[in-house]
C-alpha cells in the first residue's frame, strides 16, 4: 500500500468528466430535458471545487487564526442562508432564524469535537477545523431546513386543529407541540438513517479519503465514528433550534397562531 496519494493530472479529470456523458446520453434517450442542467451542474462542480482547493491551499499555507475564523463564518452564513430557501412556505425573519440555529448548533458541536475530543492545537488548525465544521454544517443545514419545512407544512395543513386546541384553552406551546414534534423528527431522521447504514451501504467520504491517503482503516474508522456523532448532535441541535425559532415567530405571547405570517414562497 502506497502511503502517498496518486497525483491526478488534468487529463485524468477530463477522463472522469467523460463519465458524465453517460448521464447526458440517458437524458437524451429518455427525453428528460436535463442536458443543460447537467452541463451547468458539472461546470459548477469543477469550478466550485477548484476554487475551494485554491482557497484552502492558501488558508492552510497562511495559517492565521483570523483567516480561518473568517472562512468558518462565511461557510456558516452561506449554510444559514441556503437553509432558509426550502419549503413551500416562508416567513419574515426566516433567514435570520436559519443562520442563528445553524450557527449555534454546528459551532457548539464543532467546538466540542475539535477542542475536547480531537484536541487540536492551536485551536484554529485549518486542516481540522474547516473540513470538520463543513461536514457538521452540511448536515445541520439539512436537518434545520427539513425541520422548518415540516413545521410550516404541519401548521398549514393542521391549522384548524391548532386553532381548535387554542380555542379550547391550550397554551401556544400545547397547540404547537405536535407539529413541532413531527418537525424535529423529520429533521433528525436523515442523520439517523445515515448512522444506521454507515459502513454497510456506504463508506463515508472522509473515511474513504483517509484510507486513500494511507491512513490505517482502524484509525480512519475512529475518526468517522467521532464525525458521525458530531454530525448527529449538530443536526439535532440545529433542527431543534430552527423549529423553536419558527414556533416563536408564528405564535404570539397571547397565544394566537399568526397564520398570516406564513407566505407561499412563490409570492416573493
Amino acid at each position: 500500500m502506497s502511503p502517498v496519494l496518486q497525483d491526478l493530472s488534468l487529463v485524468d479529470l477530463a477522463i472522469a468528466a467523460l463519465l458524465v456523458l453517460i448521464n447526458g446520453a440517458i437524458s437524451m434517450l429518455l427525453r428528460l430535458d436535463l442536458e443543460r442542467k447537467l452541463l451547468w451542474a458539472a461546470l459548477r462542480t469543477v469550478l466550485q471545487l477548484l476554487a475551494v482547493g485554491y482557497v484552502l491551499g492558501w488558508v492552510f499555507a497562511y495559517d492565521r487564526w483570523y483567516v480561518v475564523l473568517a472562512l468558518m463564518v462565511a461557510m456558516t452564513l452561506i449554510a444559514g442562508v441556503s437553509g432558509s430557501q426550502r419549503g413551500a412556505w416562508r416567513y419574515a425573519g426566516q433567514t435570520r432564524d436559519s443562520i442563528v440555529s445553524i450557527w449555534l448548533g454546528s459551532w457548539l458541536v464543532a467546538a466540542a469535537g475539535l477542542l475536547v475530543v480531537i484536541r487540536i492545537h492551536p485551536w484554529y488548525t485549518p486542516q481540522y477545523a474547516i473540513p470538520i465544521l463543513g461536514m457538521i454544517l452540511g448536515n445541520t443545514l439539512t436537518g434545520a431546513s427539513l425541520g422548518v419545512e415540516r413545521m410550516t407544512h404541519e401548521l398549514t395543513a393542521r391549522r384548524d386543529r391548532v386553532e381548535s386546541a387554542l380555542a379550547m384553552g391550550a397554551t401556544r406551546w400545547e397547540a404547537a407541540r405536535e407539529p413541532a414534534r413531527q418537525a424535529v423528527r423529520a429533521g433528525m431522521l436523515p442523520t439517523l438513517n445515515q448512522m444506521a447504514v454507515v459502513g454497510i451501504v456506504s463508506l463515508p467520504g472522509m473515511m474513504t479519503g483517509q484510507v486513500l491517503a494511507g491512513q490505517s482503516p482502524l484509525q480512519a474508522v475512529r475518526y468517522q465514528i467521532v464525525i458521525m456523532f458530531l454530525i448527529a448532535a449538530g443536526s439535532s441541535l440545529g433542527t431543534l433550534g430552527a423549529v423553536l425559532l419558527t414556533y416563536r415567530r408564528l405564535f404570539s405571547a397571547d397565544h394566537c397562531y399568526l397564520a398570516a405570517r406564513l407566505l407561499p414562497r412563490s409570492a416573493r
Binding site: S164, A165, A167, M168, S252, D254, C256, L258
Partner: protein, 230 residues
C-alpha cells in the same frame, strides 16, 4: 339584580396583517349572563372576524376585551378561552378515536384538576340522539360532517364553558344533524340558564329566531351595529 356582565369589548379593531385593510371597525359589544344573541349580516361583512376577535384567536389592532369586568392579560388568555368557548363551522378533530378526542382537553394545563367523565360524555352524545357506545370507539376520520360537529361540540360542552361563540356551527350540516346540534346547545343552556350565554352566527333567519332573544347586525365593511333591536 341585573344579570352580570360576561364579555365586554371596547373599540376592538382588526386589520388585515398583509394589506392593512380594515376588517373590523372599532366595535363595542357586551354579552351578559343568560343572554342568547344572534349575530347576523351578509356574507363577508366580518361576522367571523368579530367572533374570532372575541375569542382572542387573532391579535387585535386596537381596543380591549374584558372578561367579567377585567381585561384579559396575555397570561390569562387560555383561562379566558376556557370560559368563552369558540366553535368553528367545520369541526377539527384530532387523529384517533372519538373517545380520545373527548379526553384530549383534559391533557391541557388549563383543565388540570379536572378529569374526563365518561358518563357526562355519553350523556352529551345521547342528548344529540347518537348511540354513544358505538360512536366512542369510532375513528374521528371516519365520521360524517354532522357526527364530527356533534363530537366537537360535546368535547367543548363537557368542559362547562360559560359562554359559547358559535360560528355557523350548522351551516354545512344536514338538517337532522343541525337539529341535533341545536338540541345539544339548548340542553347545555338549560343546565344553568341564568349564568350561561351564547353568541350565534347564523345565516338562517328561522334559526336565528330560534336560538336568540337579541339580534346584533354586522354591516358590510366590518361595522357592528349594536342599535339593532331583535
Amino acid at each position: 339584580m341585573a344579570a352580570s356582565l360576561l364579555i365586554e369589548t371596547c373599540a376592538i379593531t382588526r386589520r388585515d396583517p398583509r394589506s392593512g385593510q380594515v376588517l373590523l371597525h372599532p366595535a363595542d359589544f357586551s354579552l351578559h349572563q343568560g343572554e342568547r344573541v344572534a349575530l347576523v349580516g351578509a356574507s363577508g361583512s366580518g361576522k367571523s372576524v368579530f367572533m374570532r376577535a372575541l375569542a382572542l384567536l387573532d391579535p387585535l389592532d386596537g381596543g380591549t376585551v374584558h372578561w367579567q369586568g377585567r381585561s384579559v392579560s396575555h397570561r390569562r388568555v387560555p383561562a379566558y378561552r376556557r370560559h368563552v368557548a369558540y366553535l368553528r363551522q367545520r369541526p377539527a378533530l384530532l387523529d384517533g378515536t372519538v373517545e380520545e378526542n373527548l379526553r384530549y382537553p383534559y391533557s391541557l394545563h388549563v383543565y388540570r384538576g379536572m378529569r374526563y367523565d365518561p358518563g357526562k360524555a355519553r350523556g352529551l352524545l345521547a342528548a344529540a340522539g347518537r348511540d354513544a357506545d358505538a360512536l366512542l370507539g369510532r375513528q374521528a376520520g371516519d365520521l360524517s360532517g354532522g357526527e364530527a360537529q356533534i363530537v366537537a361540540l360535546a368535547r367543548t360542552l363537557q368542559l362547562d364553558p360559560q359562554a359559547l361563540l358559535l360560528d355557523e356551527p350548522t351551516a354545512s350540516l344536514d338538517p337532522d344533524s343541525a337539529l341535533a346540534v341545536e338540541a345539544l346547545i339548548a340542553r347545555w343552556l338549560q343546565d344553568d340558564p341564568a349564568r350561561r350565554a351564547t353568541l350565534w352566527i347564523s345565516h338562517d333567519p328561522a334559526q336565528a329566531r330560534r336560538v336568540s332573544t337579541r339580534h346584533v347586525a354586522m354591516q358590510a365593511g366590518g361595522t357592528l351595529n349594536t342599535e339593532s333591536a331583535q
